[in-house]
């Protein structure tokens, strides 16, 4: 399978690999996919008091396109609000990385990971508010 240069670049030099402190109230975690399906993405975002994402880290078990999709979104997320992050569409990811049709699901997974991470941080904030 021929990969685009951008996929190869992210795959060879993945950005923002790693984890954030999952117990930090300002950190949201999204884990999507399943090992049986061949891909699992874990995306962690750290949000400041203004709702702006200040850090993002990922770990991905999956093909080159899945790794590239998650690496790319960690770059995109930094500096965006969680609402802006939530609005990221898989088609933008697929287009940026020139994913072939059989790899579109990787971009869907990345979008799902963002939504899961944002939902997680919102749930945490909600819980904190209720506790307060």
């Amino acid at each position: 399978m021929a990969y685009s240069d951008k996929v190869l670049d992210h795959y060879e030099n993945p950005r923002n690999v790693g984890s954030l402190d999952k117990n930090d109230p300002n950190v949201g975690t999204g884990m999507v996919g399943a090992p049986a399906c061949g891909d699992v993405m874990k995306l962690m975002i750290k949000v400041d008091d203004n709702g702006i994402i200040e850090d993002a880290k990922f770990k991905t078990y999956g093909c080159g396109s899945a790794i590239a999709s998650s690496s790319l979104v960690t770059e995109w997320l930094k500096g965006r609000t969680i609402e802006q992050a939530y609005a990221i569409k898989n088609s933008e990811i697929a287009e940026e990385l020139a994913l072939p049709p059989v790899k579109i699901h990787c971009s869907v997974l990345a979008e799902d990971a963002i939504k899961a991470a944002v939902s997680d941080i919102k749930a945490k904030q909600q819980a904190a508010k209720e506790a307060a």
């Binding site: 984890s19 061949g38 078990y61 799902d112 899961a116």
Partner: protein, 404 residues
């Protein structure tokens, strides 16, 4: 790319041995001629070459040259044997077929096609080591079983089935026995004088011969009949029509001659390399060898690297040419059906790599491969959330995965 990748995919196809290529080229240039043209020497030279090659093929497998029918490759041989014998004997023996779930697609799909036209089939599951349990095989035989098809050497995991024992069971039960030996020639001894096998498929391009040529062994004593699947000029005693590609046949003959003469030496050399590779890779944590190690050709090593996804692994090791799953089905994203049949989890099936070693593999190639794998597996596991969880002691089988 700076350098050619190291080729470790000999089970997908082998390079043509230079000696084979040298034999073939004259038949592409000065000796051209249609071997069925009886009337002029262009045809005669071709015919003689074809018959010499037929003898070489027969010699490697202990057959009579008259038992060898040329085909365009193992896929055609398998289709011809299975459809040809099943159709010929359906009326007298019945319409049930036994095969193994880990057979090559050419066998599985030919049997499926027969199911479509009224046959029934049993796809026997092998044991976890890839081998067929003889008692289970025997139990699968029905009164109307016409044909059994079992491969000698599996293309993905390299395990060698006990063809002799299975053949005896077939004989006792009056079942025609076909064996796909595409991956076996030059790797294991085949003596059809002794083996109770009725039909056997071969191809050249897995044994340092050219692509596009294969053969089917059709036993004469006791005589096995098959219904032709390709009709025309009546070549190959009516079993298979179509102009023969002389240079390819000559190539197959020479490839099989070399295999016969050099097999013993070559297998010893290859085994040493494979064992070195195995030791090197097993020093990596969480690796699993797929398929039995004892009943296995020395050329094959199929190994799963847990917590690493197969396709990204293939990308990571692009400096070596290897397969994840079978080359013939690797256009699909499904995990290998062979590994699944062994009961491997989808994750381990996904993260499997088939290394296949051959005539031109060097010790330096193996050293390089071990070092490369160690480095890349480390890197990918660093990226893998599953590895992180495993290291944290999480039981992955208990995790509720988000549906996708």
């Amino acid at each position: 790319m700076d350098r050619d990748p190291i080729y470790l995919d000999y089970s997908a196809t082998t390079p043509v041995d230079p000696r084979v290529a040298a034999m073939m080229i004259p038949y592409l240039t000065e000796h051209y001629g249609n071997p069925a043209s009886r009337s002029h020497p262009f045809g005669w030279t071709a015919e003689k070459a074809v018959e010499n090659a037929r003898e070489e093929v027969a010699k490697l497998v202990g057959a009579d040259p008259r038992e060898i029918v040329w085909t365009s490759g193992a896929t055609e041989s398998n289709n011809l044997a299975i459809k040809g014998a099943a159709n010929f004997y359906a009326a007298t023996k019945g319409k049930h077929i036994i095969t193994i779930a880990t057979e090559h697609k050419a066998v599985i799909d030919a049997v499926r096609e027969l199911e479509r036209v009224g046959f029934t089939a049993t796809y026997l599951q092998p044991e976890a080591n890839g081998l067929v349990d003889l008692a289970k095989f025997k139990a699968a035989i029905q009164p109307d079983t016409v044909l059994a098809s079992v491969m000698m050497v599996n293309n993905e995991i390299g395990v060698i089935q006990d063809i002799e024992a299975i053949g005896h069971i077939c004989r006792e039960n009056n079942v025609i026995f076909h064996v796909d030996a595409a991956q076996a020639t030059g790797k294991v001894e085949i003596n059809l004088e002794k083996l109770p096998v009725d039909l056997m498929s071969f191809c050249a391009h897995k044994t340092y011969g050219p692509k596009g040529i294969g053969a089917l062994y059709v036993r004469r004593k006791p005589r096995i009949r098959i219904e032709a699947q390709m009709h025309g000029g009546g070549h190959e005693r009516g079993m298979r029509s179509g102009t023969l590609a002389t240079h390819q046949i000559v190539g197959m003959g020479e490839a099989f001659r070399i295999a016969r003469e050099e097999m013993e030496f070559e297998n010893a050399r290859v085994r040493k390399l494979r064992d070195k590779l195995l030791a090197g890779l097993q020093s990596i944590e969480e690796t699993y060898v797929n398929g039995d190690l004892d009943h296995r050709v020395p050329h094959n090593l199929n190994i799963s690297f847990n917590y690493v996804e197969g396709e990204s692994l293939i990308m990571a090791v692009k400096d070596i040419a290897v397969s994840s799953g079978s080359a013939c089905t690797s256009a699909s994203l499904e995990p290998s059906y062979v590994l699944r049949a062994l009961g491997r989890s989808d994750e381990l099936a996904h993260s499997s790599i088939r290394f296949s070693i051959g005539r031109f593999t060097t010790e330096a190639d193996v050293d390089y491969t071990i070092a490369l794998l160690k480095e890349k597996i480390d890197k990918l596991r660093e990226l893998s959330p599953l590895w992180e969880m495993f290291k944290d002691g999480v039981d992955l089988s208990k995790v509720q995965w988000a549906a996708h």
